[in-house]
């Protein structure tokens, strides 16, 4: 019997094996997903820097004579901030490298999807990704990069620097796709993205040589969201564990100048500040050292390094039970573990540091909507002492803390400042331009929350005019992304279908468009494909209330319109028949001149 082998796999390899999950299951879906990932990355990058986005999407067939599925070159140009030259290889040549770690609303997370698209292109065509980036608008760096899947490392094939005409990023991949099948979805996607991003100019040049261009309708952008701490309801045990680690790391990070202060405090000159000298002096003068100098002193001694090297060292963890300290040595470029010496004076100091912050200040500083008094009341609720050091919690206590954070009902609802709804006016302008309806109304609900995640629902309803569809057409958006697939199982469709439209004077196949936009730090998608939103009761409620509000507006419009139409119809009927009646009765009565009925018709036509 052969021994089983367990291999660690790299994230690239994991995604390579599970690409279906990320929307790269077949040439049709993959082409569409790749378009989405790149366009969304561009829009996100512009949003974050407050740049009015101009995005140009180009898809060309490598061989125009070939039949689908065939090889396409997909290129996205933007006018965003670009990517700094030193980050380009990692950003486009590794999986799980990205800049979106904060807790705020964004279209995508971590930039993962774009690297997935690059990975997909590479495995279907074995062609590198072309990246051209300019952060200053003067010079640009052009790369050709392949991804080493097993090592999760970039392989730079070419790198050149040249003059740039404008700032921005341009990414181009070669991939297998099926435009004949994906085309309508991609066009819908571009169209709907333009609708929900009315401050962007988006153009799309398709493989047949057709150009779809949507110019920006607004010259101003909605205010960007702020990055905020998580809400107590929105964290799980693993998140708390990471937050504790992070808090400890903050405690042991040494700022600029700490090394110099230590060297002075030890009475040394810069030139003598080697480890041996420092260790000796620290042992002698520990008690006289100021609190600010004690941290660099303790760390330099424990890691056996010069204070000058401390900024290169990143402490991962101090394990008091094992007497070890783990850290990343930036000079050697490797993770290391050092043994702590219990006899040294720094030991009890580090032990104290490792115990971490008191629970009360941990909660106050690292969560939103928690003040000292709330933290104290919560501690009582969870049966912890407020001064309990969080580094000393064992696993069972961590679980209890996590459960209590979920169960405690007195926290204020989540802070919506991390959300970036489009706003009523931009939504109205966008819908007005796109649909040219006879009637339009928009509403933005006030912020609400589900499971600790804040969300805002905004929506608009448009009727008649340029809308040619028969029946209700729903445009669904989440965090400014159009949702095109899996309409049937979406919460928005459920809410729309549950409405008794007859009550709102909407009859038969009315030409009606409903656009809904759900903004949240975490949209509860039903699937990884991010195409339909799950029916959380809180979200469903907000959608329903918003839609009812709009439907009432529509209803009063419809009755005004109905009355006007009926009046017009009536006036037409009178104009058709009354002259006949007049003609007949004149002869019957044996009169010559017809009766004076004209004023009567005018009056009726106006009254209705």
């Amino acid at each position: 019997m052969a021994a089983e082998r367990f291999n660690q796999i790299s994230p690239s390899e994991f995604f390579y094996r599970n690409r279906d999950l990320a929307g790269f299951s077949n040439p049709t879906r993959s082409l569409y997903t790749a378009v989405r990932e790149f366009v969304e990355n561009s829009l996100d990058a512009c949003d974050q820097r407050g740049i009015l986005p101009s995005v140009r999407l180009v898809i060309r067939a490598e061989d125009p004579e070939a039949r689908d599925p065939r090889t396409y070159v997909l290129t996205v140009h933007d006018n965003g901030p670009g990517v700094a030259v030193e980050h380009v290889p990692l950003a486009f040549g590794t999986v799980l490298y990205g800049s979106k770690f904060g807790l705020k609303q964004a279209r995508g997370m971590f930039g993962l999807g774009a690297t997935m698209a690059i990975l997909y292109g590479q495995i279907t065509t074995n062609k590198p990704v072309h990246v051209s980036s300019s952060t200053d608008g003067k010079t640009k760096d052009t790369f050709e990069i392949l991804l080493d899947i097993q090592k999760n490392k970039p392989v730079i094939l070419k790198h050149a620097t040249s003059k740039a005409r404008q700032r921005g990023l341009s990414v181009s991949i070669t991939l297998e796709g099926d435009y004949s099948k994906a085309g309508s979805k991609i066009r819908d996607y571009v169209y709907q993205t333009s609708l929900i991003t009315p401050y962007a100019t988006i153009s799309f040049e398709d493989p047949k040589g057709e150009t779809f261009r949507y110019d920006r309708i607004l010259k101003s952008m909605p205010p960007p969201p702020t990055v905020i701490n998580p809400h107590p309801h929105g964290v799980d045990v693993e998140t708390i564990r990471r937050m504790i680690l992070e808090s400890r790391r903050d405690l042991v990070s040494t700022g600029n100048g700490a090394a110099d202060r230590l060297v002075r405090a030890l009475g040394l000159k810069n030139g003598d500040a080697g480890y041996d000298v420092v260790a000796r002096r620290v042992a002698q003068r520990w008690k006289r050292l100021s609190p600010a100098a004690r941290l660099p002193a303790a760390l330099a001694t424990a890691l056996k390094c010069s204070p000058r090297d401390l900024p290169e060292m990143t402490i991962h963890d101090i394990d008091v039970a094992d007497d070890t300290i783990t850290y990343h040595d930036g000079i050697a470029g490797a993770a290391k573990t050092a043994q702590l010496d219990r006899r040294q004076p720094y030991y009890s100091y580090l032990e104290e540091v490792a115990a971490g912050e008191p629970l009360q200040s941990f909660l106050t500083a690292r969560f939103q909507r928690v003040g000292p008094r709330t933290a104290e009341r919560f501690a009582k609720f969870a049966a912890f002492k407020p001064e309990r050091r969080i580094g000393t919690l064992d696993n069972r206590e961590l679980v209890r803390l996590s459960d209590s954070l979920q169960a405690y009902g007195e926290f204020l609802s989540p802070d919506p400042s991390c959300l970036a709804p489009l706003g009523q006016e931009p939504l109205r302008r966008g819908m007005a331009k796109f649909f040219e309806p006879d009637f339009l109304s928009v509403v933005m609900r006030s912020a609400s929350a589900y499971s600790g995640f804040p969300f805002v629902v905004e929506m608009g309803i448009a009727y008649g005019g340029g809308i040619q569809t028969r029946g209700i057409k729903a445009y669904r958006f989440a965090n400014r992304i159009p949702l095109l697939y899996d309409e049937g199982s979406d919460v928005v469709l459920k809410v729309i279908n549950d409405m008794d439209w007859n009550r709102y004077k909407v009859k038969g196949e009315a030409p009606l468009v409903i656009a809904t936009h759900i903004c949240s730090t975490r949209i509860p998608y039903k699937t990884v494909g991010k195409e339909n939103v799950a029916d959380r009761p809180e979200i469903e409620r907000e959608l329903r209330l918003g839609l009812q509000f709009l439907a009432r507006k529509l209803s009063s419009y419809m009755s005004r319109r109905g009355k006007a139409e009926a009046a017009k119809k009536r006036a037409n009927l009178y104009a058709k028949y009354i002259p006949l009646v007049s003609q007949f009765c004149t002869e019957l009565a044996g009169r010559k001149a017809e009766p004076k009925y004209a004023a009567m018709l005018k009056l009726e036509g106006r009254d209705g």
Binding site: L573, L580, L588
Partner: protein
């Protein structure tokens, strides 16, 4: 000896024209004052049809519907009604006759659209109800024709024949009862009796056997259920020439009802008062005649029996011979046609049966 008749036809015509002018002027005034005109139309729904025992016919009750030109769902039919009045006015003034079908097509020349003929027929009935005059008075006639024969002098009033006289015994096939005959003046007759028979075959036999001479009678063929022009003629013969009317029908429940409609009208024409001959007498064939004359019979069908039960609910069948004969039909469940007398020879009916029945009618 000839009786002199009054000029009834021209009076009817003047009545109609006066009524039409009256309504026309009312509507003209409304329009001239900026008011939407309307018509009050007696309701012809079942609930509003009642039997008037004094008039001895069905009449409409008091409920009426307002048809307003202001109401857009009624405006079209209001205009149709208005047009029909206008059209009838022209017909009557110009003494032209037309049929129900003519009316339907004529409307199209005036941009008055009727969906089909039944819609225009309905409007005609509406106008009859508004004016309480039969459509024949407005020169609109049905298609079906029945016949008359006998010593009756008439004087035409239709254009081209005004003043021309005719004796209705000159042609042995009889004379069709059409617009010109209906609107003619009844000048005089030597007859003392009108005999209405249900069937054309019997009518011919009666002419051949000279029933008109033998019994001093005018013979009228109703052709089944008597058309309204025939009923109008019967009424005029009775009212203007003071002739008694007797009716001979098949010996079945339908025959009994043919006689009843001539006598007291139909529910369909409850809005009209000039179509009935309340003094007309049904003399046969009765159910009781079937046994008395030992006539060959046919069994009654289920629908015959159902019809008997339906008629029993009608107040006119709640007494006298009408009630009694229905009961006999239901008892024997058999029926006999007029032709059944031919079992005893072709002239049996005129030689034996008819004299007995005429004798009987005098005593009724």
């Amino acid at each position: 000896m000839a009786k002199k008749a009054k000029s009834r036809a021209s009076k009817t015509q003047k009545d109609v024209l006066d009524l039409l002018r009256k309504h026309g002027s009312r509507i003209y005034d409304d329009l001239d004052h900026g008011r939407f005109p309307n018509f009050e139309i007696p309701s012809r729904s079942v609930g509003n049809i009642v039997y008037d025992t004094k008039l001895r016919q069905y009449v409409l009750g008091k409920s009426a519907a307002l048809r307003s030109s202001k109401n857009t769902s009624q405006l079209r039919s209001f205009t149709q009604l208005m047009w029909l009045a206008f059209f009838a006015n022209r017909l009557t003034q110009e003494k032209k006759s037309s049929t129900l079908r003519d009316v339907y097509y004529s409307s199209q020349a005036f941009a008055i659209d009727f969906d089909d003929q039944s819609e225009s027929d309905n409007i005609i009935v509406d106008l009859e109800a508004v004016l309480a005059k039969p459509r024949e008075a407005m020169h609109i006639f049905p298609e079906e024709r029945s016949s008359v024969f006998g010593d009756l002098d008439i004087e035409y009033t239709v254009p081209g024949y005004e003043g021309k006289r005719m004796n209705l015994s000159n042609h042995p096939d009889g004379y069709a009862i059409g617009p010109s005959l209906t609107s003619a003046e009844l000048v005089g007759t030597s007859a003392e009796l009108v005999i209405a028979v249900e069937k054309g075959g019997l009518f011919t036999r009666f002419v051949e056997e000279q029933v008109d001479k033998k019994f001093k009678s005018i013979i009228v063929d109703t052709g089944g259920q008597a058309p309204r022009s025939t009923r109008t003629l019967l009424k005029r013969l009775h009212d203007e020439l003071s002739l008694p009317v007797i009716i001979l029908t098949d010996g079945d429940v339908y025959g009994e009802h043919i006689a009843m409609v001539i006598k007291s009208g139909s529910a369909n024409a409850a809005h009209l008062r000039e179509l009935t001959v309340p003094d007309a007498k049904w003399v046969g064939v009765w159910a009781s005649d079937i046994e008395r004359y030992d006539l060959p019979t046919i069994p009654m069908t289920d629908s015959d029996i159902k019809r008997c039960h339906d008629l029993q609910k009608d107040p006119r069948y709640s007494h006298g011979i009408w009630k009694k004969e229905l009961e006999v039909f239901l008892k024997i469940k058999r029926k006999a046609e007029l032709e059944a007398f031919s079992k005893y020879g072709l002239t049996n009916i005129t030689d034996r049966y008819l004299p007995q029945k005429i004798e009987l009618a005098r005593s009724l």
